[in-house]
């Protein structure tokens, strides 16, 4: 069994299949089926890792004689706080932890694919959840600053015939965000899978039973599809969230804030 398993592993991927996340277990909750998928378990790992990192970085904080760990923690907090302040304005500073959470969740959720598992962010439901939160905050902001009447009237702007288009554009915002992120990460994952598959086949074609081409060569592409793309998508996602949410409120604000 073991003797067979090792050559199978060394032969490289032979049957690339594109599927969604594996369902580990599921419950029937009335009419609903609640699935516990691979994605959710990986999310737990990611969340535990991020919180563990945050916990680790903020041990023994001092006002003076800052340790390297503390410097990293302070830099991270200040960087994300400045980003939120510059993009959204001072009155949205309370929103910083959410932005930081989505950013970390996205980055580490994508990077976890480096360990050979599915990226958390290659599951559309995950991105849809985050985008839904963005959508809710946008709607809440519009109602908060414009009143429920102003919010509803906004759909008939500039004229009532625009109503369907306005509704569509309202829904398109989170849908586009979710699809963009999902498409980039999941697509990158598929490309990498195909690259591994193709290089394994190439190895077999020149008569090697071991997928020797899979060593090293895909790493070059991985730099883009796994590292750069993961970072970019996380950044784009939080930037879009910040821009859409802060645009939902009145444009000016420096006057009231300062």
């Amino acid at each position: 069994m073991l003797v067979m398993a090792i050559p199978a592993f060394l032969r490289g991927p032979t049957d690339p299949t594109v599927t969604g996340p594996h369902v580990i277990t599921s419950w029937k909750l009335g009419p609903l089926t609640i699935n516990l998928t691979e994605t959710v378990v990986l999310e737990w790992i990611v969340v535990a890792f991020i919180l563990g990192l945050a916990f680790f970085l903020t041990r023994n904080l001092r006002v003076r004689g800052v340790s390297k760990r503390q410097a990293v923690a302070e830099m991270a907090v200040e960087a994300i706080t400045n980003l939120v302040r510059d993009t959204m304005g001072r009155r949205w500073l309370w929103f910083t932890p959410y932005i930081a959470a989505v950013f970390c969740f996205s980055i580490f959720g994508s990077l976890i694919s480096l360990f050979g598992v599915r990226a958390v962010t290659s599951d559309f439901s995950v991105l849809l959840s985050w985008a839904a939160v963005t959508f809710l905050v946008i709607t809440w902001t519009k109602i908060r600053y414009g009143g429920i009447g102003g919010y509803l009237k906004g759909f008939a702007d500039p004229m009532p015939v625009m109503l369907p288009i306005n509704i569509l554009s309202e829904v398109a915002t989170p849908a586009a965000m979710a699809l963009r992120h999902f498409g980039n990460i999941a697509g990158g994952g598929i490309i990498m899978m195909l690259v591994y598959y193709g290089l394994a086949n190439a190895s077999h074609m020149i008569g090697l039973d071991i997928a020797i081409f899979d060593v090293g060569i895909p790493a070059v592409l991985s730099l883009y599809f796994d590292l750069f793309s993961d970072f970019m998508q996380a950044f784009i996602f939080i930037m879009l969230t910040m821009v859409f949410v802060s645009n939902a409120g009145p444009a000016e604000e420096e006057a009231s804030a300062s």
Binding site: V18, T19, G20, P21, H22, V23, I24, T25, S26, W27, K28, L29, G30, L32, T33, I34, N35, L36, T37, T39, V40, E43, W44, V47, I50, L51, A54, F55, L57, T58, L61, R62, V63, R64, Q70, A73, E74, A76, V77, E78, T96, P97, Y98, A100, A101, V102, C104, F105, D123, F124, S125, V126, L128, S129, W130, A132, V133, F182, A186
Partner: protein, 178 residues
């Protein structure tokens, strides 16, 4: 049978590649909430607290430094003032001392001069007296001597009138000498 049925093991089941799954959405939202509050509690709160503390400390030391600087300037001004006053005072003292010394030396010189003058005067008076006494003694002696010399020279009696006249003439001429 409850609302939640027994867990179904679905080892071979994979969701479609592009799927919207209620369970995943639910769990993701819960995880996101946990992450948001976790980060807020474990990262943002402690770090922001420390940053605020540092800001307070920096503000405090800046204020203290400003105070210290103001104090130092005040002290410096005070010292400069004191120094000027002290210089003036010392110059004044020096002037006074010089004047007093001058006065004193003038006094001393004047006293010395007066004393010297008194001594001179006394000496002169004494000298005068001595001279007179010597002169009168000399006169007496000379007159005796003159008579004796005259007697010896003339060896003769001259008339008393000539005698007296000669003596007087001689005494006068001797007296003129002095």
């Amino acid at each position: 049978m409850g609302i939640i049925s027994a867990s179904v093991w679905a080892a071979d089941l994979n969701l479609p590649f592009l799927s919207i799954d209620t369970g995943t959405i639910l769990f993701t939202l819960i995880n996101l909430a946990i992450l948001v509050f976790g980060l807020k509690h474990f990262l943002f709160k402690p770090v922001n607290d420390i940053l605020a503390q540092r800001q307070t400390a920096v503000d405090k030391s800046l204020t203290e430094a400003e105070q210290a600087k103001a104090e130092a300037e005040a002290t410096k001004a005070e010292y400069a003032e004191k120094l000027t006053a002290a210089k003036e005072e010392s110059a004044e003292m020096l002037r006074k001392a010089t004047r007093r010394a001058q006065e004193r030396s003038d006094e001393i010189v004047a006293a010395a001069k007066a004393e010297a003058a008194a001594v001179m005067q006394q000496n002169e008076a004494e000298l005068e007296r001595e001279k007179r006494r010597a002169a009168s003694e000399l006169r007496a002696e000379v007159s005796g001597l003159a008579v004796m010399v005259a007697e010896k020279v003339v060896e003769r009696e001259i008339n008393p009138a000539d005698h007296a006249r000669l003596i007087d003439e001689f005494i006068d001429s001797v007296g003129d000498v002095q």
